[in-house]
């Protein structure tokens, strides 16, 4: 173990008090991190804690508004990804971007392929260089094959090989293990350790505590865009890290009105989709808010998509009010009374160029048809009614939704589903990217809907939202439901443990 030497190693990179705002949104308030050569630093924090913004600053994607940034003893301000690369920083993303049509070797060396005497690319040497890199990493990989169809694990290895070929001294791995299987994680860790022992500084971001404890030398925790603390891994417990991460009281922003629960409206039984999730069973009753919690990538959205029929399911059944739904048929889901407010409202929820009225009426386009023709006035009337109910701020029903603010867009999405008078409403990340004012409005609205007897399935990555709103919390981890918690059992810790599936080890 080299923990004791870590603090004496040379400082590879330090960032202090970095702030980054996007318009009115503060993404990072105090980004602070210190990396030393020959160490693996883990960075922990909830979704939205500011980790990705910090990574993007290191990568040169974003320039921080304030803060002191030193790499290899030099003050830096990266203006582009190239600047960051030039200073020896390489970032491995969860899902690397490769060119699927180019060979593995070429993906490593694009733009700096070795040339022969004629000034042409020396494909042989390029492949050999790539092969040497993979040999160094100790992984078998054919440099001549096309990158198309490579697993994410292999794609990451290509990125790492590229980083080595660029002589990177600092390696940032942004949730590299999220989509990897056990063996692949082991292989990645082996590579990471050998790079560390060769003197590289590695920043490792993961939600899995067992990995963090296993791999890192030090752990930095962030919360709400701020640096909280840095610990030596061998001196700290998972409990402490979790406390640092969630360390806030669930406030009373979410006035849960107790509603009498009615009949079971949505029943999901042993739902499965090969390679994505399996054995998902739960029920939602009228008037109940069930939260589907878990980390990004745990398969929550995929479950919702399969329930609604956007994706085909491979196993299991879905019943709405006692009637079975056919697989892969959203129209049938809508007719039987499901509404789905998707997570990406700009791409999935709205047709941005169409007006508020058209968007609101899109779900009801069949209902407004008289002899096949849409009654425009009825359409507008309904849209106006729902816009008023939800207090959508728009100058007219003809305004294109692209000109509305994020919060108001979300209200239009809600309006278009509420107009169908659904029995079940699935809401994926109801308040992502919405300003605080509208956020609490949306929360109040969801509560009200439940109060009127609607069954609500809410997917959320924000713990306070989950804990404040839900009657029951289902926690998913890697495609499985790992916990069903009642309102009184659900605490930040219990949800976080189930989401990272570390309860069996650490609690």
């Amino acid at each position: 173990m080299q923990h004791s030497t870590v603090y004496e190693n040379a400082l590879a990179l330090s960032l202090h008090g970095a702030m980054k705002t996007f318009g009115p949104v503060v993404a990072l308030a105090d980004g602070t991190i210190e990396l030393r050569a020959g160490e693996i630093m883990a960075l922990c924090g909830e979704n939205g804690a500011g980790k990705s913004t910090l990574v993007k600053i290191l990568a040169g994607v974003h320039a921080p508004d304030t803060g002191e940034f030193i790499v290899a003893g030099q003050h830096c301000s990266f203006k582009s990804v190239a600047d960051s690369k030039a200073m020896g920083v390489s970032v491995i993303y969860q899902e690397p971007t490769l060119f699927p049509d180019l060979s593995v070797a070429e993906n490593i060396f694009i733009g700096r392929q070795p040339k022969n005497r004629l000034g042409l690319i020396d494909h042989g040497r390029m492949r050999k260089n790539a092969a040497t890199l993979f040999e160094r990493l100790g992984v078998p990989m054919d440099p001549a094959r096309r990158a198309e169809g490579l697993s994410i694990a292999d794609q990451q290895l290509i990125e790492i090989a590229k980083a080595i070929s660029l002589d990177a001294k600092i390696l940032v791995m942004d949730e590299p293990t999220a989509a990897l299987s056990g063996v692949e994680v082991d292989r990645l860790f082996k590579v990471a350790r050998s790079l560390r022992d060769a003197g590289a500084a590695i920043l490792f971001i993961s939600h899995r505590f067992n990995e963090v404890m296993d791999l890192s030398n030090r752990i930095t925790v962030m919360r709400d865009g701020r640096y909280i603390d840095t610990h030596l891994t061998r001196d700290v417990t998972v409990e402490r890290i979790v406390r640092d991460m969630v360390g806030r009281d669930v406030d009373t922003l979410f006035p849960k009105t107790e509603a009498a629960l009615g009949e079971t409206v949505l029943a999901v039984d042993k739902l499965g989709r090969k390679g994505v999730f399996s054995n998902i069973s739960f029920e939602v009753r009228a008037g109940e808010i069930v939260a589907l919690a878990g980390l990004v990538g745990a398969g929550r959205t995929e479950v919702a998509r399969a329930i609604f029929g956007i994706d085909k399911r491979d196993a299991g059944s879905v019943t709405v009010a006692g009637k079975a739904l056919p697989p892969g048929n959203p129209q049938a889901a809508i007719t039987s009374g499901i509404g789905f407010v998707p997570e990406d409202r700009r791409k999935q929820g709205l047709v941005m160029d169409l007006s508020v009225a058209r968007n609101t009426a899109l779900t009801l386009r069949h209902k407004f048809s008289r002899f096949g023709l849409i009654d425009g006035r009825a359409e507008k009337r309904t849209a106006a009614t729902w816009s008023r109910k939800l207090q959508v701020k728009t100058s007219s029903m003809d305004q294109a939704v692209s000109t509305l603010s994020g919060g108001n867009q979300q209200k239009v999405v809600l309006a278009k589903w509420l107009a169908t008078e659904p029995k079940v409403l699935i809401i994926d990340e109801p308040t992502r990217g919405i300003d605080v004012g509208t956020k609490s409005e949306v929360h109040r609205l969801i509560n009200e809907l439940a109060g009127h007897g609607m069954a609500i399935l809410m997917i959320s990555s924000e713990l306070p939202e989950v804990l404040g709103m839900a009657d029951r919390v289902l926690v998913m981890h890697e495609g499985l439901i790992t916990a069903q918690l009642d309102r009184n059992e659900a605490t930040p810790e219990s949800v976080m443990y189930a989401a990272t599936a570390s309860q069996e080890k650490n609690s």
């Binding site: 889901a333 999935q348 941005m352 300003d435 306070p464």
Partner: protein, 356 residues
């Protein structure tokens, strides 16, 4: 969360009071501009070109644009969904060839026409299955069927031309309504235009097409069946193209394998000129109607005005380029102005808080 550093300040509300955002009005929209250009051009042509404003002119002009106009209708809907159909002119050619061979083979003229239509239907189904259900890119498929259907036309009729169609029918195809100079055929064509106009603008199906063209995901989420919609559009395109082929045959009293060849590009040019976005999601039937008529009358006027036949194509091309570049330029300008306004507002707010 409000206690946290990620707290957000909602400037959008502050701005919404001052921002003057209006929805598009019908008289300032892209379609309206096309109509204005068309009207201005027609007035100009009537005044400056001696024989433009006569029934004869009207008649020939309209007869000339009928095939383009017909095919432009399903093409509009197809392009709005983000696809394309390059095989339309070949389908017209194939139906013309089939019509000729059936008639020459002794079949009843109505039976021959029905079979020609049926062949168009099959052609549309073929395209539709490959694009909507197999999921092939429409550009590539219809380049293939462009060759295939034209090839089949050759197989059917070869080098021959069939010309001896019944006089009363060919005469009817170019007959006029009284002395107005307006061809009788305009009536069924108008029916087709109104049908597609209503289909696109006034039905649930049409709403779905826009949604699909803008975002397949968004369409999927409201239960729109993308495959089925596209399939029917290609079937419609096949049928209408075959009708255009039949009209072409009767109007020029000649069934040949190369009838209407190259028409696909004219149609697409007219549709794009009419304001339909090649990316999908935008466009309207009135706009396309204006686009088709503008190209048609411009060509006719130039011909009447003794501008050599040959500059016509250049004008079509320039119009097309101008029509796609204009939005790029205007959107660049409006983004710039929007930014300026925002910047001014922010600096005003900054000074205001500084004073406080």
């Amino acid at each position: 969360m409000s206690e946290s550093a990620t707290a957000t300040v909602d400037t959008s509300q502050a701005l919404s009071g001052t921002q003057d955002v209006r929805g598009p009005r019908w008289y300032t929209g892209r379609d309206a501009i096309m109509v204005y250009i068309l009207v201005v051009f027609l007035l100009y042509a009537m005044i400056t070109i001696p024989r433009f404003a006569t029934p004869v002119t009207t008649g020939f002009l309209l007869l000339d644009v009928i095939p383009t106009l017909l095919i432009a209708m399903p093409m509009t809907l197809i392009i709005i969904t983000g696809e394309i159909d390059l095989s339309v002119a070949s389908i017209a050619g194939l139906s013309s060839a089939v019509l000729g061979v059936m008639w020459a083979g002794g079949a009843n003229i109505w039976v021959s026409m029905a079979i020609a239509l049926f062949v168009g239907l099959l052609a549309g189904i073929f395209n539709g299955v490959l694009i909507a259900f197999v999921g092939l890119p429409s550009l590539a498929v219809t380049i293939g069927t462009l060759a295939l259907f034209r090839g089949l036309a050759l197989v059917v009729i070869g080098d021959n031309a069939v010309a001896n169609f019944p006089k009363e029918i060919t005469a009817f195809a170019s007959s006029k309504i009284g002395t107005t100079g307006i061809p009788v055929m305009v009536i069924p064509v108008l029916v087709v235009v109104v049908f597609f106009g209503l289909l696109l603008h006034k039905t649930a199906f049409g709403r779905g097409l826009y949604a699909m063209g803008y975002s397949k995901d968004a369409a999927h989420f409201v239960g729109i069946n993308e495959g089925r919609s596209k399939f029917w559009l290609y079937v419609a395109s096949g049928l209408v193209s075959a009708s255009a082929g039949i009209f072409w045959t009767l109007r020029y009293t000649s069934a040949r394998s190369d009838n209407a060849s190259g028409l696909e590009l004219t149609v697409i040019a007219a549709v794009l000129l009419g304001g339909v976005s090649i990316f999908g999601g935008k466009g309207s039937v009135p706009g396309v109607l204006a686009g088709v008529l503008l190209i048609g009358s411009l060509n006719y006027a130039l011909r009447l005005g003794r501008v050599s036949d040959v500059v016509l194509v250049t004008v079509t091309g320039l119009l097309l380029i101008a029509s796609v570049i204009a939005p790029s330029i205007s959107s660049a300008i409006s983004t710039w102005r929007h930014d300026q306004k925002l910047r001014r507002q922010l600096s005003d707010e900054a000074t205001a808080t500084a004073v406080n």
